[in-house]
Symmetry: C2
Subunit: 654 residues, 2 copies
């Protein structure tokens, strides 16, 4: 078997790489040089690295080569997307936006009240939060389909974290103060993540982690709603599954059969409408209208029954959001709690908002700038905290309804806010007889969709460690606590990255006849060994965390190959080629290991050569003078060139 | 420009991969199939993964195909390396081992006393620790050159950590109890890391981290020795640079000129001998003998002077190690401290011992089994804690002397222990007049070599982030504390791995004429673009942490390429090829991103194909059914095949 010998004129490296040219131009001809990347100063490298970290999307590219006025207009559009779509807004779009706005309002009002209850806040706060934040988002936001307002997960987390220190029923003012302060910190965190372009931090909450987390939260939330569905008045403030379940069963005497019958009926009704809309997306309006219909129906029933055993919302004040700037407190014993709650709810609501925005943007093929969205959501929460609102973001369920109802722009949020305004001004007394059980049923219907066992099964099939991350956040949330559950899941995800680096794949490659391609012998039966050569591909960066492993593993590959050769009586190995194509980075420990490996093999009369080191690896090998040890013929552009050149050198000097 | 068209018979995949064959055999001929790795069950994969994690070196490979008796002998040799080298031990080796044993003993005795002082322990403990542990190591250890005994870093750390809670001068018994208990826990940790084959954990202390840490510790230790060199009796127990320096200058009245003159003279003498031996390794015996000579000389001088101002060691008890099993305490308020101290000193001493063992093994081309060494060092410390010894490991300085003095086997440790035994039994009264200043001078001379500013400079040149890790451990140790300094440095190292994954390199590739090789356009000026194609190489695994980035970055590459094409009026892009060679792993988020990218590009009438996915990536793409979306011609073995096949398909169907 012979390789096609490669004969081409030497392709020279870039002019700036004179140094590399000198060190490798003495290689025998017919072999291509391995070039260094173009020379850059430390400062240039740092600048490029920082711009990759913070500005990977090159957000200012539109501003290049523009006149001053155009730049100003672009800047205005950049900071206030309303100026981008506003001038293009036409009467044709209004109709769609009004329909979708009214549709999400019919969903937002009952959900707002319910989620406020979930956060242990007065129901009216949920309506306030569906009024101011959507208006602010409509000026700053760049997603066209995001329906803004309170969401289940963030409300639940805020409720649990605050309730563990302060009880709303005992200290309502303090509780409200903490909720608004936490909202402010959530907004601050979100806006600054966006402003400092650190949005990638939320990427560390992987989809698998969120899947488990949301399912766990949904289970807890659903179980907590048994309070409303069963009519229990004394219920635990804790969030773990054990105290919640024990609360349900220790208060059996408080169960009320009227509440149970009515609650379960409405729950079945809501779940059925949800099922219909899931099956036929065109009938989305059925599940969209169902909560409001249920609220109206149940209110009428309770009003007619005048039953004392069914708990109702009771009196709600009329009027728009009162200012709450004076409620924000930056001192006192509970400040740390407010900050912590703000961080956790801020991260969670941000993750949901960004994910929802991206999902619908991808469907309609437009771009959502993650960092800009973060600033929008952050400012909306900061403003909200001064106007009696708690944490809000883009809700997945309402955004989906918004999208299906044909929303074209963020104007649907304005329509929704207007509807909420009318409700706040005139319709509040109507909620007096609305039973708590209907809120519980609405919450359960909303969160039940978060339990996506099919996705979890897909995780298991595709990636076992993703599944472990998912499970650990699920059980972490159920049995420990929300922040710890999330932390464990992030830990598992990071551990997965580290494990991949610490124990990378290594493959012995063989030649695929008729090509210049070398592939894994265990994967391609067509691949054949090349006598006298052992070609090892390393599939990870060469780091301190794996340098010992890679050295041992390489020596083991050599030992196993030698044992195999002894049994089969083939030609002994004379040269080991390390295919560095997938070695995407190297550090000083890695360089030392490669040099030491070369020394060890040299003592055994084995030659070690490197094939195809990538740019920055090549640069580091060069800077550390490790290449000098490898000599002039220790470095090749491809494995096939290395094999061809080394075998021909053996022929000429036997 | 045309590519060499590749015409070969289809090389078929392994028989087990029927599924993959079916899905890709319909590709046009002349193109090679991308195979799946051989099918394995989840259990087989887990087994293989676990064996790679815990047994990468296949430690039992010698046992394969052996008879029962041979297996027993091999097992004995495996657990007690003494049975491996013992039978081969010859009289020829004895001479070298005796010479090197005596040499290291002459170094070990003064260093043992000094390091015990460093740990705030009575000097005799240092001698005890140079007697029992080396004997145990000589049975269990597999390094031939390791000289076992107390070491500076671990002694220092133990001294500081314990002294912050308990003062030896006030509660000597409690302090001793804590020291022995910490030693036991250090040994337990070390042995269990080895036993459970978790030795790779110490790899996370990268060389850069250790470099900074050791330099920081050396600075602190040297400054602390000013206590002895200046004759100060009231000195801080703290370890940070600020309190140490203020201690030196606030006690100016305690400075004694006799101590200073004598101390500085001996320090200069010791540093000079060290310098000589560094320059000429053959004269290693000069620096090896210098400490003992200094001790003898200074003791005689002090004895003759009978000066009261020079502090001396004082009375030392004769006799071998008393048992200390009754001193081990597993309860009480200080247990947590003992465990913490044990963990930190255990990890540090283990790191030093393993690194030293590996260094000298590499020099003589033999293998040291890391996990076995850990068990040996761990058991030696566990036994030591029951025989009045504190933490011991292989010392770098003494092992170097041992190596240079020609040690052939671990017998030199036995000779050293025997010499220490004689000292303990008969020579203890001679140390009565040994001044503390000489111990300080010995410690400074020993640790000054740990400050390797040249290596730090190399780090700066080769890898800036390694340098940051080094600096942060250096300043962390100097200004905060040893455990926190180490934790920060490990954090920086891990952050570096995460950063590489979060913001990976992406390159646009071009074709190098005359080859089938595609390389970065920015690095190879010879590389040329192929009209209608955009070839993007991703240099990292496709993970949740970078999936958003990679999607944005790919879209930006496309945008920039389209802008360039518009300016130059070239052919528009019709196909984007993702070169997956260096994408060494993928998770569910990564798969979703690739599918979404394909959808986005499809809407823009751009084709997305993948080239050369590695084994496990291919497997996951297949399991997740993502490949089905790519269709039959969306996957190629190499970039050049993709380009050739797609361009020819365009020619046939324009």
């Amino acid at each position: 078997m012979t390789l096609n010998s490669i004969k081409v004129e030497d392709s020279s490296c870039n002019a700036t790489e004179t140094e590399a040219v000198t060190s490798s131009s003495m290689q025998s001809s017919g072999v291509h040089k391995v070039c260094l990347p173009p020379y850059r100063t430390t400062f240039q490298k740092l600048r490029q690295r920082l711009s990759e970290i913070f500005f990977p999307d090159d957000p200012l590219h539109k501003f290049k080569n523009q006149t001053g006025l155009r730049k100003f207009v672009l800047g205005l559009q950049f900071f206030f997307p309303v100026f981008e779509w506003g001038p293009l807004y036409s009467f044709k779009l209004v109709r769609s936006d009004i329909i979708s706005g009214l549709t999400i309002a019919s969903l937002a009002i009952p959900q707002g009240i319910s989620y406020a209850k979930l956060a242990n806040l007065p129901p009216i706060i949920g309506l306030y939060s569906s009024f101011v934040p959507p208006l602010i988002y409509s000026i700053l936001g760049s997603s066209r389909h995001l329906a803004v307002g309170p969401v289940s997960i963030a409300s639940l987390v805020m409720g649990t974290m605050l309730s563990q220190a302060v009880s709303y029923s005992q200290e309502p003012i303090l509780y409200l103060q903490l909720a608004f302060t936490a909202t402010l910190f959530a907004g601050l965190l979100q806006a600054s993540l966006g402003f400092f372009r650190l949005g990638f931090i939320i990427d560390f909450l992987s989809k698998a982690t969120l899947l488990g987390f949301m399912a766990g939260a949904a289970v807890i939330v659903s179980l907590q709603q048994l309070k409303g569905l069963l009519g229990i008045s004394h219920f635990t403030n804790q969030m773990q599954i054990v105290p919640v379940l024990s609360s349900v069963f220790t208060h059996k005497d408080e169960w009320s059969w009227q509440t149970i019958v009515m609650g379960v009926s409405f729950l079945i009704f809501l779940l059925a409408t949800r099922q219909i809309s899931t099956r036929k997306p065109k009938l989305f309006w059925i599940s969209a209208a169902a909560p409001l219909v249920s609220v109206i129906l149940s209110t009428i029933i309770v009003f007619l029954l005048k039953s004392k055993t069914i708990q109702t919302i009771g009196h709600l004040p009329k009027g728009i959001n009162p200012p709450s700037l004076n409620m924000l407190h930056f001192s006192g014993p509970h400040l740390a709690l407010a900050i912590k709650t703000g961080i956790v709810t801020g991260v969670l609501s941000l993750t949901e908002g960004i994910a929802v925005g991206r999902t619908f943007a991808a469907m309609q093929n437009y771009q959502v700038d993650g960092n800009k969205e973060m600033i929008a959501i952050g400012l909306m929460n900061m403003a909200g905290s001064c106007a009696s609102c708690f944490v809000t973001t883009g809700s997945f369920s309402r955004s989906a309804v918004n999208y299906n109802a044909g929303a074209k722009t963020v104007v649907s949020n304005i329509i929704m806010a207007a509807t909420v305004l009318i409700t706040l001004l005139f319709l509040m007394p109507l909620f007096h007889y609305t039973p708590n059980l209907i809120l519980a049923a609405i919450i359960i219907t909303a969160v039940i969709g978060l339990i996506d066992y099919q996705a979890a099964f897909r995780l298991w099939k595709v990636d076992k460690l993703d599944f472990v991350a998912c499970l650990s956040s699920f059980f972490g949330v159920l049995f420990i606590s929300v922040p710890l559950g999330l932390a464990i899941a992030v830990g598992v995800s990071v551990f997965k990255i580290l494990l991949h680096v610490t124990r990378p794949n290594t493959n012995v490659l063989g030649y695929i006849p008729g090509t210049q391609s070398f592939q894994s012998l265990s994967r391609y039966s067509a691949a054949v060994r090349i006598p006298s050569f052992l070609i090892i591909a390393v599939e990870a960066p060469f780091y301190f965390a794996n340098s010992t492993y890679l050295q041992e593993r390489t020596l083991r590959w050599i030992r196993e190959e030698e044992e195999r050769i002894e049994v089969k009586k083939e030609t002994a190995i004379k040269c080991v080629i390390l295919d560095m194509t997938a070695v995407t980075a190297i550090d000083t420990s890695g360089i030392d290991t490669i040099c030491e490996l070369r020394r060890i093999l040299e003592k055994r009369s084995l030659k070690l050569v490197l094939a195809n080191p990538v740019g920055n690896v090549m640069e580091k090998l060069h800077n550390s003078h490790a290449l000098e040890a490898f000599g002039l013929d220790g470095l090749y552009l491809t494995v096939s060139e290395a094999v061809a050149d080394i075998s021909s050198s053996w022929k000429t000097e036997p």
